[in-house]
Symmetry: C2
Subunit: 479 residues, 2 copies
């Protein structure tokens, strides 16, 4: 018990210092480490395992909707990056430039991809000729580089892992349909697997992706009341197609420009999972994404039969495809309990001589710490049920938090006060002018997060300027 | 049938021009494409799918032997690269240098990783303190960059995908054991999954990895008689540990330097698969690695019931976890047959009205083109058996080729003649001097491929200088 305390005392409480709590959890659960290169992270085994689970599940869902994986080079020649005007303006200030290969100076600078629209376009212009070649739905899992001044683990770093899907379609409608379809893949995944509810909507022109016609977003709410943009899906219209010359002959033998989309999520999702679900005891992960779903912890493991029984349990869990481990190290049970809690093990099973005598073990949920006595012949199904319950409870809790942190404002006074006093999203009507977005940002640091799909008219005038309103917007401070 | 011919006529025969045949297969099967950056490849869906299968199977085998995945930054500060003398000398001439981040010139140049020993060492020095922290067995799947002057699809490119494992151990023996263990993981994988027999052995000092104490290799033989180094495993001893200060306290509380290994295979394996198994009709892949194991091709598909039956077949194959597709496009059956052959579909199933009437279909193996009549109620098991047979036949054929292309030479005249006239490996004794290796390379372009684990004394004197011999060596021209 004293060990237990000692272990947990090493992390700052959320109340004391939220930012420090986050960094402590990330470091103490051994998810990542900083590297010799400023702003670049090392994903350690426990952190990378979360990303592997994200990849595995999302990749299956992508393939189900007809997406194929490819790999594009990591370098983009400067001239290629410059082909689409808005795009280069958005990214050029934050890219890393390669100027030398070996001893020789390169004839043309290459940037390390900050995103790969230009490379995909350069391929698509060569392989798309006829309407029969459409649609093309390619995706890649890779890392990208954006030179950041200030960085935070998983949330913002100079290099990060992500996936980027790039699709080409015959018509604007087909592209729009795919844009929304992939946004829904993301929000369903966040809900069902990460237990995170998302606000879905469209970005304002000011906040959209460099080169996009429309950008759609999923926005999550963190416990400190800040929004986290967690995934985006862009409809490019035919802008890139015109810049790169991606044309096809339609079934009337007429030459047409293609329509394109792109969409991505990154290791930032890991930041969202950590913040939404964890607590002062450390990392808490929804069972569906937890690298370790169950840790069996033997009590008085030197007593005859305890380790045998514990290993028997482990085998039956693993046979049922549950990601289970055993902690049979020589640390004290109390230490093992708090270590399992710190590292985001979804469920621990305590089993000692007395339990074995009574033909039972104790199942402990990480999120609620609820203890469930379980007959030894029902462990697999009870663990399965407990994980299902935990998964849905964690979502419900996060949803309740989100719902109770959305407030409305109908005039500027209310708005400024709400941003200041009520952490979370503030719903407010908007006239559509970038000036109001800029004023709000300057006055409050809040930004327009999205125009939700489900529009309502909570007032008739803009929350900022008082002129006639066009759209309901979710506003908030953001990461 | 005329379509069939036309399709196949587009690739050069192996006899006519082996190099062009290889490039034709790679392009025509749509495995890869060149990109706007010289020497960098695009892996297209069919090529990347092979890599995904390699990854999936190898990764499972790595995890079974205790390897954990991580992700390290892609950049290495110049000062870090320089910490191990031999290592920097080996790699500095071929790395890409990042000099600017955004608009600013960097204080220190960063190289894009050509391999990540230095980054792993920089992490290990911080996280290894006690013998309890050992071993550490990390691996990452990523891309690396080595600025190459001449490139060939999959075999040599400026950026390529690979995995690099990096482990740390308490003793030299533990490190050596891991080095050999991983080499065996590679050669077993090549044999069982890729149907490629490998010669296993140790590299001479001249050919070993920059910074390694010993390098072990698996060498495959290509149909043009050239060797392809297909995977390597290095024992670093404590060289890197001393350069980076990776020390631990042993169980006598004494400070010791750690011992390290690294090991990797790359997309080069795809080049080996293509060359070893393919033919003038295009790509041929062993069923265990083929992205499409079965393609169902309906004949006279507009006749009633044909498509239904074909789709029924497809479903039953997919339900049995066989990677199956259907080609129900409006192309002619002949065209579909040759397209399936070109693209490396392991087995095609032909099913038309007459077959259905007779309650059967026709199973065609890609490698031998053998046709097997199969009752419709036995398709899944027959496909399964046929794939197993095909997999082992393909290995046997490759093994027979390898065995019949290993020749011995006992003096220099024999040796030079053999290298010239007998494509394949030449076995010859070696005195151990780098001068003989250099002379052989200059005279014949052949290099020492490895000193095989199974040593024999086929002569007592060096095949080059005639002095007393120390080792049996496999020599050959190499990619």
């Amino acid at each position: 018990m004293s060990n237990n305390k000692k272990f947990v005392e090493e992390i700052t409480s959320r109340e004391e210092d939220y930012t420090k709590w986050y960094t402590d959890v990330v470091k103490k659960a051994e998810l990542m480490d900083y590297s010799a290169v400023k702003g670049c992270m090392i994903l350690k085994p426990r952190g990378y395992a979360i990303w592997e689970n994200i990849q595995k599940i999302l990749d299956k869902r992508f393939k189900k909707v007809g997406v194929e994986n490819v790999y594009m080079p990591m370098f983009i020649p400067e001239s290629l990056l410059q082909k689409e005007k808005d795009h280069v303006e958005g990214f050029a200030p934050e890219v890393a430039w390669v100027t030398h290969g070996g001893e020789e100076k390169l004839q043309e600078r290459l940037c390390v991809r900050p995103t790969s629209e230009t490379l995909f376009c350069d391929l698509y212009k060569d392989i798309i000729h006829s309407y029969r070649d459409l649609p093309k739905c390619y995706n890649q899992w890779c890392s990208v580089v954006r030179w950041e001044k200030t960085t935070r683990p998983f949330l913002r770093s100079s290099e990060f892992l992500w996936q980027e899907g790039h699709t080409v379609h015959a018509t604007h409608e087909d592209a729009e349909e795919r844009t929304i379809q992939m946004l829904n893949v993301y929000s369903d995944f966040a809900k069902e697997i990460l237990a995170i509810p998302m606000i879905k909507g469209k970005k304002t022109d000011k906040e959209k992706f460099a080169g996009a016609e429309s950008t759609y977003t999923i926005e999550a709410l963190m416990p400190d009341g800040k929004a986290l943009q967690s995934g985006t899906s862009h409809n490019f219209g035919d802008g890139f197609a015109k810049a790169f010359g991606i044309q096809y002959t339609d079934n009337n033998n007429k030459l047409q420009y293609a329509h394109q989309t792109s969409w991505g999520v990154s290791t930032r999702l890991i930041g969202a999972i950590i913040m939404v679900h964890s607590d002062d005891a450390g990392l808490c992960l929804p069972p569906k994404i937890a690298p370790t779903q169950v840790c069996v912890i033997p009590i008085q493991q030197k007593k005859e039969g305890v380790l045998d029984k514990a290993n028997e349990l482990l085998d039956s869990l693993q046979d049922a495809d549950i990601r289970a481990t055993i902690d049979d190290s020589d640390k004290s049970p109390g230490w093992k309990f708090s270590e399992a809690e710190m590292c985001g093990v979804a469920i621990r099973i305590e089993i000692g001589p007395k339990d074995i005598e009574a033909g039972k073990c104790v199942i402990v949920r990480r999120d609620t710490r609820e203890k469930i006595d379980c007959s030894l012949d029902k462990v697999v199904e009870t663990v399965q049920e407990t994980m299902d319950k935990m998964q849905s409870d964690m979502y419900d809790k996060a949803k309740e938090y989100l719902d109770s942190h959305i407030n409305d404002a109908t005039n500027y006074e209310e708005f400024v006060k709400a941003i200041d006093e009520k952490p979370g999203f503030i719903r407010g009507m908007w006239c559509g002018s970038v000036e109001c977005e800029e004023k709000i940002k300057e006055d409050t640091t809040a930004t327009s997060r999205c125009m939700p799909f489900e529009q309502e008219e909570i007032a008739t005038t803009c929350v900022c300027c008082g002129k006639p309103a066009k759209k309901l917007v979710y506003w908030g401070k953001a990461y």
